[in-house]
């Protein structure tokens, strides 16, 4: 009799699949809406097309590529329920270190006179290593002690900025090799951004690494009981975020053909904004790379749209702040509409 009960015919759960819009659809609509709005305003106020200008579109994506690269790492950190405030400072520190190992023979006072005209792989490796070290430090502080990610990465943010200034006593590092400068020229940053996005989109959706990342953010206790080594995984996630900040630092310095301690100022906030606009939830367990890419593009459209309309940068920041808050509010409404039963 028990057997009969258990084997009663029952529709296969996999068989009935309901078609749903992906959560990014609404953010994509916002992106398109904003672009069309600027297009309209463009014709009214400056008698130009906003979108039908290849050069402007390239510059627009170019400007946000660095933010986008950081945001891909930050998204993963946010999915685990954490936050990374150190990204901007790590950009500066890697920019300094990488640039100091990428100086050409023309440099008047090279940082390391004996280390000029090195193959391009050296500064890249050094930059990524610096990023990894910073991420590892974040991860260790968070995983091995019980201090909250906000505080741990705040500390690293301040220290890394200081370290970047100390490295050359505040002097910029310039006159870099052509090979290095190529990393930041043309559409290279855009390619790096999109390739990184694709890589981690796949990692989050189709690998064990991704499933564990979501599980930890969704419920760290349950993840631990399910046999996930939570500290080790967090270490990996923060290290990856650090490496991506390092990559962003390399691209930034290559594009500027110099390393400066003031680089990447406030980039961490733009990156967090991109992730949040893209649907990542600061309470963890929710977020996607596709959303973050769209969120990054929204930031890009706003920046370049305001420049295009020749509106002061002040207004731009004010509006950007509004968009971030609106994105979170919209997300909450969406969640309620999706699941009326989850309200209580």
């Amino acid at each position: 009799m028990p057997q009969a009960v258990m084997q009663q015919s029952f529709p296969s759960p996999a068989a009935r699949r309901t078609r749903r819009w992906p959560p990014e659809a609404s953010i994509l609509l916002v992106l398109l809406g904003l672009a069309l709005l600027f297009e309209l305003l463009g014709w009214v106020f400056v008698r130009q097309s906003f979108l039908l200008n290849e050069q402007r579109l390239v510059i627009m994506i170019l400007q946000v590529s660095v933010i986008g690269i950081i945001a891909i790492g930050v998204t993963q950190v946010i999915i685990t329920g954490g936050i990374d405030l150190s990204s901007g400072s790590v950009v500066a520190l890697t920019a300094m270190v990488a640039a100091s190992l990428a100086q050409s023979a023309d440099a008047v006072h090279p940082v390391y006179p004996s280390l000029i005209e090195l193959p391009v792989i050296v500064p890249i490796a050094a930059g990524l290593a610096v990023g990894a070290a910073a991420g590892l430090l974040n991860g260790t502080l968070i995983a091995r002690t019980s201090i909250p990610p906000f505080i741990a990465t705040l500390g690293v943010m301040v220290s890394a900025r200081g370290l970047a200034k100390w490295y050359t006593r505040g002097q910029p590092v310039s006159l870099l090799t052509d090979g290095y400068a190529n990393i930041g020229s043309g559409a290279a940053p855009v390619v790096i951004f999109l390739a990184t996005a694709l890589l981690f989109h796949i990692a989050l959706r189709y690998t064990r690494y991704g499933k564990f990342t979501y599980a930890i953010g969704s419920n760290p206790q349950a993840a631990r009981v399910s046999g996930i080594n939570v500290p080790r995984h967090l270490l990996a996630v923060y290290t990856i975020a650090g490496v991506l900040s390092g990559l962003a630092g390399i691209v930034t310095s290559a594009r500027a053909e110099s390393g400066q301690a003031g680089m990447g100022m406030m980039y961490e906030l733009d990156a967090i904004a991109a992730a949040v606009i893209g649907g990542a939830s600061l309470s963890g367990g929710v977020g996607r790379i596709t959303g973050t890419v769209i969120g990054t593009l929204i930031l890009g459209v706003v920046t370049s749209g305001f420049t295009f309309l020749r509106i002061d940068a002040y207004y731009q920041e004010i509006v950007k702040g509004g968009i971030i808050v609106a994105a979170v509010i919209a997300d909450q409404y969406r969640r309620k509409a999706r699941d009326p039963r989850a309200i209580s």
Binding site: R16, K211, P340
Partner: protein, 525 residues
């Protein structure tokens, strides 16, 4: 015949004929006694009809139990009455007045209060502050008058005969006391109808008795209680009437004394359940798990036991006896500070859940929401998460066809009610979530199963299935350690019963010699 006529006139309760007392349920539906009337309520969620034309009446001074399997629509109906979820059709009347129920606030002001299964108290605030939050009495300076606050709270608690200090911090109180505070809070709104969603699911027998005393006190004051429960044994003790829902439809209303347990189950499930507790005849094999002198102060000390292959060892005790902490220590969640553990005769150190899993252990935790479900993820991810460390992964990538196949099989085997494996687990009912969590562990093919309250808050149909499953796993050679606060479950399922009190093992009983009294004597010590 006389009885029938009396019923028709509606004043049967004024007649003192003894034969009429059993007609109480029908006679009581006279308009003056009827407090709540729910008429033709329907509600559907995307893809599911949660309620289909349900009507119900609750009289003053009675406890009306609402029962049904998980997903039968009980919670949805409660939420509609409490103004949390709007109905698609139908109306709710209180004392003959049709209510507008757009918000919980409106329900509360009309005299309907709901006590949720998951309590909603603020742990860091005092009892008094929790009860009167948002309505604190002010002194002459417009500040909160703490003296008045405590005076009111004391008066309220005294009226209910609840013995709790108004100034105590809620964090420090046991679950049973918190439940009492929720009740006090509900009554502080002068509510006429109290809705309780499985109030006893987290209570021990002792606390349950205390809760029932308070409910009887409320009845004598003319209040009504609408009571959701999965514990059928409680019905006869506390309920005056039972209404059964099944698949969102009204099945019937009866007095508990008119129904046998089997009839109730048949109404709920719509089919016969062969036996409540499966007794698989098994001869326990070799000792699979042994512990000696396990200690983790202040939770438990000097715990020793043996668990054999094919055996179910029940662990009984009051809340706070250290049973859950013992389970957590065995699984490495919070390892013991002293003592030894052997698996298959070899001494092992289990210092993290990872090691426990690698040693073939599985641990269904007590609290679905806190330590079980990954609430932002879907059913498939919740099922698969514990095996991904070992199976279904090649070069770090998920073998998604194999995972889907295994999860679909498991979901079918456990009869999980879900539209698809891609459904967020947050959308499933409590019992189905529990099945998913059990499935998560079964996918790991465990040799030692630690189950902490495996059927808490689960309907009788699902419960029987889970019991059969546990018995079958044991029969197939798994060693099962089962913690439960439900004595019938402990008595019905276990081969042996280990009883704990205040962190110590106070006795081990063979099934044949165990009964409720012996267990309670050891548990209360």
């Amino acid at each position: 015949m006389g009885a029938v006529r009396a019923r028709d006139t509606g004043d049967a309760r004024e007649l003192s004929l003894p034969a009429l007392t059993c007609m109480h349920a029908e006679a009581a539906h006279a308009p003056d006694r009827c407090l709540l009337e729910v008429r033709h309520i329907s509600k559907s969620f995307p893809g599911v009809a949660a309620l289909d034309d349900v009507s119900l009446r609750v009289d003053r001074g009675t406890v009306h139990a609402l029962i049904g399997e998980n997903g039968a629509g009980k919670s949805t109906l409660m939420k509609i009455i409490a103004g949390i979820v709007p109905a698609d059709a139908g109306e709710v009347c209180l004392a003959g007045r049709t209510l507008r129920l757009d918000t919980p606030r409106q329900a509360l002001e009309s005299g309907i209060a709901m006590i949720h299964q998951e309590l909603n108290l603020m742990p860091s605030m005092s009892v008094a502050e929790n009860i009167w939050i948002g309505r604190e009495p002010a002194n002459a300076f417009g500040m909160v008058s703490h003296r008045e606050l405590h005076r009111r709270t004391r008066a309220l608690l005294e009226r209910l005969q609840i013995d709790i200090d108004p100034q105590a911090e809620v964090r420090a109180l046991p679950i049973a006391s918190r439940q009492m505070i929720e009740i006090a809070k509900a009554l502080s709104y002068e509510s006429q109808l109290l809705i309780m969603d499985e109030p006893t699911s987290a209570l021990t027998e002792h606390d349950t008795a205390q809760l029932f005393a308070i409910i009887r006190e409320l009845k004598s004051q003319g209040k009504a209680v609408l009571y959701i429960t999965h514990r059928l044994d409680e019905l006869r003790e506390i309920a005056d009437e039972i209404t059964v829902l099944r698949d969102g439809r009204y099945i019937g209303t009866e007095r508990p004394s008119n129904l046998t347990r089997e009839q109730i189950i048949r109404m709920m499930v719509g089919r016969e359940l062969a036996q409540i507790f499966p007794h698989e005849a098994t001869a326990p094999g070799a000792v699979r798990l042994a512990a000696s002198g396990l200690t983790l102060r202040p939770h438990f000390q000097d715990v020793s036991f043996e668990l054999r292959a094919g055996e179910i060892l029940g662990v009984a005790g009051l809340i706070g006896a250290g049973r859950s902490q013992l389970a957590e220590a065995l699984f490495g969640v919070a390892p013991a500070s002293h003592g030894q553990v052997w698996i298959d005769g070899a001494e092992v150190r289990v210092d993290s859940p990872c090691t426990a899993l690698a040693r073939g252990m599985a641990f269904l935790t007590e609290d679905r929401k806190e330590t079980g479900c990954l609430l932002t993820l879907d059913v498939l991810e919740n099922l698969a998460i514990a095996v991904l460390n070992r199976d279904f992964v090649r070069f770090g990538f998920l073998r998604s066809a194999a995972v889907t196949q295994a999860c679909a099989d498991m979901s079918r085997r456990l009869r999980v009610k879900t539209p698809s494996l891609q459904e967020p687990i947050a959308h499933l009912s409590g019992g189905n979530q529990q099945k998913v969590l059990i499935g998560r562990w079964l996918l790991t093919g465990p040799r030692i199963l630690i189950l902490d309250e495996p059927t808490r808050g689960i309907d009788v149909g699902a419960k029987a299935e889970i019991h059969q499953l546990i018995a079958r796993l044991a029969a197939q050679g798994a060693a099962v350690l089962m913690i439960s606060s439900e004595l019938p479950e402990i008595l019905g399922m276990s081969h042996r019963i280990m009883v704990m009190h205040a962190g110590r093992v106070t006795g081990v009983l063979e099934r044949a010699q165990a009964d409720q009294e012996k267990i309670m004597a050891l548990a209360a010590h």
